[in-house]
Structure formats: C-alpha cells, structure tokens
C-alpha cells in the first residue's frame, strides 16, 4: 500500500516503548496487533533518540509494509520523511499542522490531536487537505501520556466530532480506551479507537487487538441493522 492520505483508524495502535518493555517488545506487540487486525500504527517514543526512533520505525515498516498497514510517526515529521513512513501525527505542542503538511507534501497522512470543539473548529478552518484525521481525547483518564489533558468523556468526544463534521474530518478517539468503550465511541461518531495500554504491555496483544476489531464490527453492524428497521 502506498502512503494513504486517509488511513482506516478503526483500531489504531499507538506504540509505547516503555509499556512494551523496550524496542524489541514494540516490534513483537505490533506483530501481534497485525495478526489481530490492527488497521493503523503510530510510532510514538518521545524518550528515544532520533536514531533509536528511526531504527524502531524501520523495524515496524518491515512488518507493516507487506501487510498494507500504514505507519504514522508522532511529532517527528523529519523521522517520518527519513523513514518514508505513511505520515505523521502532531499535537497542539508539536509542529503547526500547516508547516507539517508543507514538509510532508500532499501524498502522506497527517493527523492532529484536539481536545475541544474550539480546537476542532480551528482544524476545520485550516487550508483544505492540511489534516486528514483528528485524534480526540483523552476520552477516559490515561496514564500513558504524562502531559495529557483532563478526560473529555464520550459527551466531550461527541461535541468535538460534531465540530469536526463541518470539515468532514474523521475523528479517532484516544485515552484509556478498552473494548467495552467501543459502542459509546461509535455512538459519539468516532471513526475508531486509538489505543496504547489496551494493547501495549498486555499478555496477548493479538487477542486484545482482535477484541477491539470485533467490537467495532459489531457496533457498526448494530447501527446498520438499526437503520434498516
């Protein structure tokens, strides 16, 4: 698969090197997630040196390229470009999305983290084609991100999704999400769940991923059944 501007965020794994027990653990976790049906992977390791990040990214690309699962790099647009990854994800403290898009060019995916309807409206107001996806959260309280903001809950997520819909920007929910959250995320209009600790550091990343994939399929199928009535 060549760089998809719009990746499928249904089950979007964000890696955590510490939770996975080191870079080799990240590779094994991603391998399991791929077997479980993960739809996209984001490489996130703010504590790594640039060279360590590139090395880990190369190992993940070797796994993901053959199966067509896109790899996105958190914050480091230069690392995304050096790797030839499928895109980058920036937060409100990272590179400005317009600058990130300029560096990435038009072909790659760019995600942006937002927490509030105002931030979603600001994303909608960006030049068309700047951002492909909003990461919305934290929905639940999270321990994976030291500087995370207060949890917004499913209601807060729904408000952000509504604000983003004006720009047809899909939203992936993030922040302490488990399988049992999926129906509420789906009801709030999220296009998927981004997960860290639901998969990283669990005894069976493949089963954990599969459980999320199944929950999304069921939530969508329930909606379709509901609309058919």
């Amino acid at each position: 698969m060549s760089a998809p501007a719009r990746l499928d965020p249904t089950v979007y794994l964000v890696t955590d090197t510490r939770l996975c027990g080191g870079p080799a653990g990240v590779v094994e976790t991603v391998r399991g997630a791929v077997s479980g049906g993960v739809t996209a992977v984001q490489l996130r390791d703010p504590g790594a040196s640039t060279r360590e990040l590139v090395a880990l990214g190369e190992a993940l690309l070797a796994l993901l390229r053959p199966v067509g699962v896109p790899l996105v790099v958190d914050d480091r647009v230069d690392v995304a470009l050096a790797l030839g990854a499928d895109g980058a994800h920036v937060g409100q403290s990272d590179l400005d999305p317009v600058a990130a898009r300029r560096l990435l060019g038009p072909g790659r995916h760019l995600g942006l983290s937002v927490s509030t309807p105002d931030e979603a409206r600001a994303a909608v107001a960006l030049p068309p084609g700047t951002v492909d996806l909003l990461g919305v959260g934290p929905v639940n309280p999270t321990t994976s991100k030291a500087d995370a903001r207060p949890a917004v809950g499913a209601d807060g997520l729904a408000r952000v999704v509504h604000a983003a819909s004006a720009g047809r920007l899909p939203c992936v929910a993030i922040g302490g999400l488990r399988t049992q959250d999926v129906p509420a995320l789906h009801a709030a209009g999220a296009a998927g769940s981004a997960v860290v600790s639901a998969v990283c550091g669990t005894p069976d990343p493949e089963a954990a991923t599969r459980s999320l994939v199944r929950a999304w399929a069921e939530a969508r199928s329930a909606t379709r059944a509901g609309s058919a009535r």
Copy 2:
C-alpha cells in the same frame, strides 16, 4: 545572507535555555552575542516541545537575519525546515547525516558531531556535500550536555582534525571551552570554538563573546606573523 553551506564557525554559540533562564533569556543572550561578534548560532533545546522550539527559533531568526548571522537547529531537521533556518546539526544519536542532507537539500548547512578520528573518517567517507562542518568534542569536561562523552583534550582534537583534513572538513571545537583555550584550539587546527556556558548564563554575554572573537583574531594573527618570519 541566504543559507550558507559553509558558515563561519569562529565563535559558534550553542544555546541552552536552562542556563539562559528561559526562552526570553536565550533571546537576550543571542542579542548580546550578536553585539559581541558571534559568527553563528545553534538553537539547541532537547527539553522543549516542538512548538516551543519553533517559537524560539522564530525569535532568534528575527534577530539574526538582519545581521547575516546564520542559525542552525540541533537535531530537529523538521524544525530547521519549518523555520527556514540556515541548516541543522546532528549528533551520532540523531538522524543519519545522509538522511538529514536528503531532507535539507543542497543549499543548507549541515554539521555533524564527532568525538574520535574513526568518526571523522566515517564523515569523510560520506558522499561529497553531505556534511559541511564537524563539531569535535567534548574537548574539556562539560556540564552543559547530560550525555556527553569523555573529554578528548587538545590532543584528541588535533587527531580528529587530522582525520577530517582528508575530506577538507573544517572542525569546530566544543566542550567546556573558554577564551584561554583558544590558542590551543587554533594550534590543534580547529576553525573555531563552539560555546555554551562560556556565554549562556554569564553576566555579560556580549563581553564574553567579544573576548572569544578577539582571542581567535589574535591566535590567527600570531600564526600569520609566525609564518611571515
């Protein structure tokens, strides 16, 4: 001055936000250094968020552009590009220099940190035009960099300069350097001294910079007088 591939590293200030007492202190320090005759500035702040780094870089460019002093960004090639800075500097744990050059394009400066003759020889063996300058050190013990290697001394510097000369790569010394070190650095073949704590956090950054500028002028003039004999 447009992006110079070969900057003048005679007195090369590497910023330290903590030593300067915060971003505003960095700006004031660089302002003083410019008045004192600094020849190049490197923005280094591994603890800053990407957005903070960009904001500080913009403030420094506003000072440096009008006076033609180049600004180089440590490690973050994406930030260098987003800023339109004059180049980037990578260490042995940062982006591979070939990848960094590919991202920077041919017009901008690229520096590389080395500590040993072997690392200098590896730099010489890179494709021509990859690297413009080697940062060699630490010459003296340093407290500005948490992960610094053991000090190489003026003798170690001279050995690296010799190895780099095969590729005509100029070397700037770094690591705990003061004005009184300049004659020995010059004798070892360095093209300048990169300084952090000799300027950042001092009561008078302008005077500290001027003292270094004068020491380099005197060392070079003594050599010329010596060769004229």
